[in-house]
Assembly symmetry: C2
Homo-oligomer: 401 residues x 2
Amino acid sequence: MKKISLLGSTGSIGRQTLDIAAAHPDKIKVIGLAAGGKTLPLLADQVRIFQPELVSVPKEEDVPRLKDLLEKRGDGTSTKTKITFGETGLVEVATISGIDTLVTGVVGFLGVKPTYEALKLGTTVALANKETLVAAGSVIMPLARKHGAKIVPVDSEHSAIFQSLSGYTPADIECILLTGSGGPFRTWTKDQIRFATVDDALQHPNWSMGPKITIDSATMMNKGLEIIEARWLFDLPVEKIHVVLHAQSILHSAVQFVDGSVIGQLGMPDMRLPIHYALFHPDRIATQRVPRLNLAEIGQLSFEEPDYDKFRCLKIAKEVAREDTTLACVLNAANEVIVQAFLNGSINFHTIPDYIKRVLDRHAAQSNPTLEDILEADKWARKEALALVEGKSAVRQAPRR
Amino acid sequence: MKKISLLGSTGSIGRQTLDIAAAHPDKIKVIGLAAGGKTLPLLADQVRIFQPELVSVPKEEDVPRLKDLLEKRGDGTSTKTKITFGETGLVEVATISGIDTLVTGVVGFLGVKPTYEALKLGTTVALANKETLVAAGSVIMPLARKHGAKIVPVDSEHSAIFQSLSGYTPADIECILLTGSGGPFRTWTKDQIRFATVDDALQHPNWSMGPKITIDSATMMNKGLEIIEARWLFDLPVEKIHVVLHAQSILHSAVQFVDGSVIGQLGMPDMRLPIHYALFHPDRIATQRVPRLNLAEIGQLSFEEPDYDKFRCLKIAKEVAREDTTLACVLNAANEVIVQAFLNGSINFHTIPDYIKRVLDRHAAQSNPTLEDILEADKWARKEALALVEGKSAVRQAPRR
């Protein structure tokens, strides 16, 4: 029986994780849950079903609201669940005594601290929160090594690489082939992209994901962040991480070994597979909840080089990936704020990389950062990015050329 | 230092094996060689370069011929090499004391006996001779298990499956995806195939191989024999072996696990990769002799279901693969004779499955066969097939409907 805690239980990754947990009650026991504030009724349902030891809500005022929901609709069985809140609550849920695996399904920088604390206890982390490694890889990876804690990636690409590496070591790797669909704008011209709307950018061809990560796919910043994540996770220089566009998202990524052999992981684009894999790693447990691949039915898989000129966010991220400073943290934070500004309608799609570049250029990057340096850089970058897009927001009312 | 013996040293697999051995003189020592009769000058060169302990030629009269060649062109250094001959010679080369790996690069039934004897000594066999498992899998596999001898496949498809299984067990397998190019007739209609010439059938789109195996690709008997080989090698029922046509021969095969994840091995169609892998297994040794895969350059990978109606040999082999008798041995032997008859111009391409079916129908299949039963069934099938095609050869002169 694996005891798991889950951060972000009401999000896409969280719900799918609980779906898998529910299908294997003999193998998985959910002992901790933490969720976002707008989804308290769903969280209440989850608490009722899984009866965790501890549940965390975002704010203090959510505690009585959740209690109320549990009492109103509950059958009295879930009263044993303790309720906590806020960032401290996240850390509490991540560090409940006896956890085997922490699943970090929260989006954004929020995932860093609880992951950090869980790793310090030697807990295995099923990492769906890529920002943790993007922003704080230089702190997180040595910490995991020091405490003998495993990090099993949930990102489909990194899960594919992780699975393909089974039985091998980083020394056997010649390079990795990080595949990306190219998002909704793979076939658009640079000029077409200038006029892309929020709706256009939210039409991901293969994956159903949250809005922030969907925009990151459209800018290909997502692939850029994944380069940084892969760099830390597999201890590789950026030169050994090759991005390949693959429109169908079937080959989820691959490893090229020093003898020229390429091992890759394939499957339908469905997050249940990497989540299921991460939950049961190192075992492969039978499930029918993961849709099966039928290559003959799919017919064609296509591959092409990415256009770094069209996807400037990818280019910027690749450059930042070479650095060993607070720059990647700033990239991640600035991107979060600027994407939100785009989603709010405050800025145009094609200006996203410009704003990010401006924040990066203003940052005094710090080498060998501590977690505190990173937290500070994150705060600085968000403030800076917000000021920039808010300034822009005002200018936006003026007539454009 | 790995000591290897090589059967079929002057053939395609043999020459590439020696090419790899020559590139790693610090890791591989060739101590035994055996080759076909028409290539004695090449064999003499190989003996001079690798100075094995023992070399075997097909016939007694080849012994003085090889000696003569070695003395004429030699520099006196290779006189230490002992020369032997015939089937006994093959077994002697396969069982030299101290061999780590036997590479069986001979084509056809000839590979069975020496492989059998090598496994009895616990020697690892790098198996490029698929007939050994097709004809005698029911004897060979238990023998390998009994003596703790490893069989590492060299067939690109089986090597791909073997590599994809790294770190897993047969219990983790849901099915395997055995890819096949579909050969030169993948896009031909049944009617077009009726008039296919020997030259048409010898035009393999991706792989450069010997004539017999190239014809087997054109009939897709090759894929059928590979189903039988995979069945034994990976201890799987035929229902778990799915053939997928893949025109580009880049995904060399894949494994679908019980959790729905598919791990596959990719690479350029070049036998040096599986040979290199088999020679150094379980290590991956760096080499630049294996061409690198560039997916973006290749652009498209296509997949389709095989047409069992068009490729009747594949259908026949799949049926035979379910049997646990001497039938697979008869299939293999009949196919060898009948393909030779086609290559000689004695029969038409589209009649190959008819002849094979007739031999199979006449065979009184024997369950739980011994090696002797298999040798006998092989002899019987060859005689029977020869009689059929020779009869046909006479009839062939008569006008057709």
